[in-house]
């Protein structure tokens, strides 16, 4: 009987401060045991329970992509007990990871389609995973045009700044970064994500939209997408209810008759329309 509660030991190999406000740190882990690494086969959009021994565990979406073998990366905002403990961990520390958990972005459905990836704030984590996955030479040909719209309050709060700079130079991705209000030295777009989405007006023809961000951003972005002609089946969202077990047993994360941990966290707007708004 495989025990789904027991974490695999991992080593923290890189701990970086991701944002200027010091609230988001990124953590890169390596498995201590080869068999654990082999067993951890994941897809963009899935998450894992990361534990700081002695403090507890918390769910985080994988920010790394399966195309980056040997490592797992998470970007974590400091909000409470476990996340604060994580932020204190020096490189070399031993932590635990159990997963992968949850479903993933529907990559099969995405095949051959154009993709519009829209992210706000630090919810860009699994979107980084997805974008990195699509941009990998082995996969890029499977997908159509790729548009990424990513907003943060100010330039210092954007995650993965180096990578964004790299993506900007590529011709096989159209990256649009925006910040809420003008800032010194910022020459790109200014404005909230929904407004910028409206302005960029990505075509809904043969396209899927994937949206992750704070609730307000999602609330105002969806009508824009609907106006652009995206049907609810092709608007993909990821939920973040409070979780403990991650395997549909502790009864904590349900939205109606679905468990966000097991049946999600990725749902289409069409699926969510059939569920009560308890998220």
């Amino acid at each position: 009987m495989k025990n789904p509660y027991v974490p695999a030991p991992v080593k923290l190999v890189r701990h970086v401060v991701e944002t200027d406000d010091n609230l988001i740190h990124s953590f890169t882990f390596q498995f201590l045991k080869e068999e654990d690494e082999k067993a951890f086969v994941y897809r963009p959009g899935q998450f894992a329970e990361v534990c700081v021994f002695g403090k507890g565990e918390s769910p985080f979406g994988m920010a790394s992509s399966p195309t980056e073998p040997g490592i797992l990366k998470f970007s974590v905002a400091r909000v409470g007990v476990v996340t604060s403990a994580l932020h204190e961990m020096p490189e070399g520390s031993i932590l635990g990871v159990r997963g992968p958990l949850g479903n993933s972005y529907p990559l099969e459905e995405f095949k051959g389609k154009n993709l519009v990836i829209i992210g706000g704030g630090f919810a860009f984590t699994t979107l980084r995973s997805l974008t990195t996955y699509i941009l990998h030479p082995d996969n890029r040909g499977d997908f159509g045009e790729l548009t990424v719209i990513y907003g943060a309050r100010n330039p210092g709060l954007l995650l993965y700044k180096d990578e964004l700079a790299g993506w900007e130079k590529r011709s096989d991705i159209n990256l649009i970064c925006t910040i809420d209000a003008p800032a010194d030295g910022w020459q790109k777009k200014v404005g909230f994500v929904p407004a910028v989405t409206k302005e960029v007006a990505p075509s809904s023809a043969d396209a899927y939209a994937v949206v992750c961000g704070p609730p307000v951003m999602i609330r105002f972005t969806i009508p824009v997408l609907e106006e652009l002609g995206f049907p609810p089946e092709r608007i993909i969202l990821s939920l973040e209810n409070r979780m403990k077990c991650g395997i549909g047993m502790c009864g904590r994360c349900n939205v109606g008759n679905k468990f966000v941990c097991k049946d999600g966290p990725v749902f289409s707007k069409a699926q969510l329309n059939k569920l009560p708004p308890e998220y």
Partner: protein, 339 residues
């Protein structure tokens, strides 16, 4: 069907105790609870039902999942799966059925809970039919009954000085090996039939229309009304044989510690509070609705059966007398304006 004299119970249990952890109803103050017994005399079988369901034998209120010791460059993990063999004696039919419901949660297609399932596989359930259902019992409304053998290995029917023993499974039969019990004759069988006939649950709850209502009444004003009285104390969920919600926490000192799971409840505001401060179920209304929806709609959607066995414990334990039977009726009768 076999016959067991009541005065044989003690010696039978004493015979089982060396081979199994034996649990039986025991009197504690003014109520009964299931406890591991060291001697057959401790078992009290003329009881109504335990305050806390025998669920806690397979799914304890608090249990260690594993313990760990952090070392330089690694961590030692020790799983704490309980593999001991157990017998639970005196299980009421409603509680036996609750294990079948918990099985659906803990023995899923995708994931299996090794703590519950290992105990479950190693536990033999000896039932005791209910000659006198309590005023709060309504198992018959939920396709159960005071003498239902569903989920049990043996069922005892009290016919006076003797128990008529219905052997339900091979495992049950094994428990009686060496006892040389006589086969129940015509007279005993007659007596059992009479006992069963006279045992009636006084309330019948009409569940016929409930699911149809719950499918459409998420926004019905009835929820605010029903939740008005509720204190959110979670006594109902703690005493429920089908509730399975839990929390997972670490308890540690220095480099050593354990990961522990504790019963938790959807009636508590912290249960769903996000790290950001947002709470999808911010008030008692949403939480009360969740409890009812989970048992009578979501569980039905996911597993094809209602997650209530009619044991009546929530009715007995609620400090403000919220009666689930009335709640069900009120919901069934409310509205009609939504479809």
């Amino acid at each position: 069907m076999l016959l067991l004299n009541k005065d044989q119970i003690t010696s039978w249990l004493n015979k089982l105790i060396p081979a199994y952890q034996v649990f039986a109803p025991v009197k504690e103050g003014d109520y009964f609870c299931f406890q591991q017994i060291r001697s057959g005399e401790q078992a009290v079988l003329n009881y109504t039902n335990s305050r806390i369901p025998p669920k806690e034998i397979l799914f304890p209120r608090s249990e260690k999942l594993f313990c760990y010791r952090c070392e330089t460059g690694g961590v030692q993990l020790t799983e704490q799966v309980d593999e001991s063999k157990k017998v639970v004696v005196g299980v009421r039919p409603c509680d036996a059925k609750s294990f079948l419901l918990l099985d659906k949660v803990f023995n899923g297609d995708q994931y299996v809970d090794p703590y519950y399932l290992t105990r479950r596989n190693n536990t033999v359930l000896v039932g005791l039919g209910c000659n006198q259902p309590a005023a709060t019992c309504f198992c018959t409304s939920l396709s159960g009954g005071p003498f239902s053998a569903e989920g049990l290995d043996l069922l005892f029917v009290d016919i006076g000085d003797q128990y008529l023993v219905e052997v339900v499974t091979e495992r049950g039969k094994e428990l009686l090996s060496g006892m040389e019990l006589p086969v129940a004759g015509q007279e005993a069988q007659e007596a059992a039939r009479a006992v069963k006939e006279s045992a009636v649950c006084s309330t019948l709850v009409d569940l016929g229309g409930l699911k149809y209502r719950l499918d459409v009444n998420f926004d019905d004003p009835i929820w605010a009304l029903l939740a008005e009285k509720c204190l959110g104390c979670a006594a109902c969920t703690y005493t429920c044989p089908t509730c399975h919600c839990f929390d997972i926490v670490d308890e540690a000192a220095g480099k050593e510690g354990c990961r522990i799971r504790n019963w938790d409840a959807c009636m508590f505001p912290l249960f769903t509070l996000h790290g950001s401060g947002h709470n999808p179920r911010p008030t008692g209304k949403e939480r009360f609705r969740q409890r009812i929806m989970h048992k009578f709609k979501y569980f039905v959607d996911n597993y094809g059966t209602i997650a209530c066995v009619g044991c009546g414990r929530c009715i007995l334990s609620c400090p403000v007398n919220l009666d689930i039977r009335q709640v069900i009726e009120q919901i069934s009768q409310a509205g009609g304006d939504q479809q």
